[in-house]
């Protein structure tokens, strides 16, 4: 089959699957190497954007999924069944930020940066599958280490951890003054 045919098949696969599909699984089905499949998918993604298709191709790590576009949300939501999703609390967001940039990290380290106890926000983040326990630190007490999950990437719409903006980008004016004082 030619390229176009492969792209069509992939589109069908992703539509039927609904949930994210591993790139290797797609590669097997269209009988292509993962590397080539990656190329096809990248081209598809660009084409969808270029043609201003209502559906976009989203990538999360090594998985792909079809999704709608944020620009159209106001229209689409009118047909949706409303769900009760409120955003994360300030505390949870702070905890999540720390874990995202400092993972793997222990609860004590998180609490030391925030200056307050973080049990509740950690529990919330785990309940929402945004962070998980990735093991234990080899030090007295063997405290648990926290990391972000794939779900987290999807939650913030970032392809991979590497694609997160650099930590340095978030410093504030006061710090600039410090360096140039």
């Amino acid at each position: 089959m030619d390229r176009k045919e492969q792209a069509c098949i992939i589109e069908g696969i992703l539509f039927a699957a609904g949930e994210p599909v591993e790139i290797n699984s797609i590669a097997k089905i269209i009988n292509e190497s993962p590397k080539e499949t990656q190329k096809i998918l990248s081209e598809m993604k660009d084409l969808f954007d270029f043609e201003r298709r209502g559906i976009q191709l989203k990538r999360i790590n090594t998985e792909y999924q079809l999704a709608t576009r944020t620009e159209h949300y106001e229209y689409i939501k009118q047909i949706l069944i409303p769900s009760n999703t409120t955003g994360l609390s300030k505390a949870a967001l702070e905890t999540l930020s720390i874990i995202a940039y400092k993972q793997p990290i222990t609860k004590v380290e998180i609490e030391s940066i925030r200056g307050v106890k973080s049990d509740k926000s950690l529990q919330t983040l785990m309940d929402k599958s945004l962070v998980l326990i990735a093991g234990r630190l080899n030090s007295p007490g063997k405290p648990m280490l926290y990391e972000t999950t794939k779900r987290f990437l999807k939650y913030v719409g970032v392809e991979s951890l590497e694609k997160l903006p650099e930590f340095e980008n978030f410093c504030n004016e006061v710090e600039y003054e410090k360096d140039h004082a």
Partner: protein, 244 residues
């Protein structure tokens, strides 16, 4: 000073300090520690006076601020010689670094909040399930946590969690130690001794088990029963002291 900013809106002492610094546009590299400490203390005292529960972390920070303030006041031998405060000897240094790091993460939180709100507008489809198509059995990595979360999602979708008629509450039984003390005493009333394990024979819940155990400890303390054990880790006997 206006205290419109309520305790709850501060995520912790660092948050409050940042607020004080930014509100008066203070130079974070040269914090007027005396001024900051007194403003901070005013907040704490105000919250105390309207009976708000001030978290211990706030109190700890108050102590830290006072400590830094006193260190700044004490004449430091090195400082005399240098005639200026170097970075290493500045008692505010550690706090400033903590504040800067915390502020960074506050900025990141804000950034994530925007991403979260943006991504909330992206819709994905759920998978379809086709029973006609034979599926190859895969090894599923399931743990009870995942199962529970999935179930909860289903319930939420059906709005069932809100509908109380669908399920009733199982009342947890309340066992009191006094009740159990009576029960235990009754059990050994007419015998010389009774095996420890027998006390829990009819136990139906953890609650009951724990209450019986506590009752037993109480009885031992009151010297109303004695205990004897033949060998380590073996079942032991509760002895009725009046039947010896």
């Amino acid at each position: 000073m206006a205290y419109e900013v309520v305790l709850n809106s501060f995520q912790g002492p660092l948050d409050l300090l940042l607020h004080l610094i930014e509100k008066d546009k203070l130079d974070i590299n040269d914090i007027p520690i005396s001024e900051i400490t007194s403003q901070y203390m005013q907040y704490i005292q105000k919250w105390n006076s309207i009976n708000l529960d001030v978290a211990s972390e706030f109190i700890m920070m108050a102590a830290t601020l006072v400590e830094i303030k006193s260190k700044m006041l004490l004449p430091n031998q090195e400082v005399f010689e240098e005639e200026c405060i170097t970075e290493e000897s500045d008692p505010r240094q550690e706090l400033v670094e903590r504040l800067i790091e915390y502020k960074r993460f506050k900025n990141i939180s804000q950034f994530f909040k925007e991403l979260e709100s943006n991504e909330g507008k992206v819709i994905y489809k759920d998978p379809e399930y086709f029973h006609e198509i034979a599926k190859i059995k895969q090894e599923l990595k399931i743990d009870s946590n995942l199962l529970f979360k999935s179930f909860k999602r289903i319930l939420l979708r059906q709005d069932m969690l809100k509908n109380q008629e669908n399920y009733h509450h199982i009342q947890s039984e309340i066992f009191t130690i006094e009740e159990k003390i009576e029960e235990v005493l009754k059990k050994i009333e007419n015998v010389k001794q009774i095996k420890f394990s027998l006390l829990f024979h009819q136990c139906e819940s953890n609650n009951e088990l724990i209450t019986i155990f506590l009752a037993l400890l109480e009885l031992i303390k009151m010297n109303k029963v004695l205990i004897k054990q033949q060998e380590l880790f073996e079942d032991f006997y509760i002895i009725n002291p009046f039947k010896i």
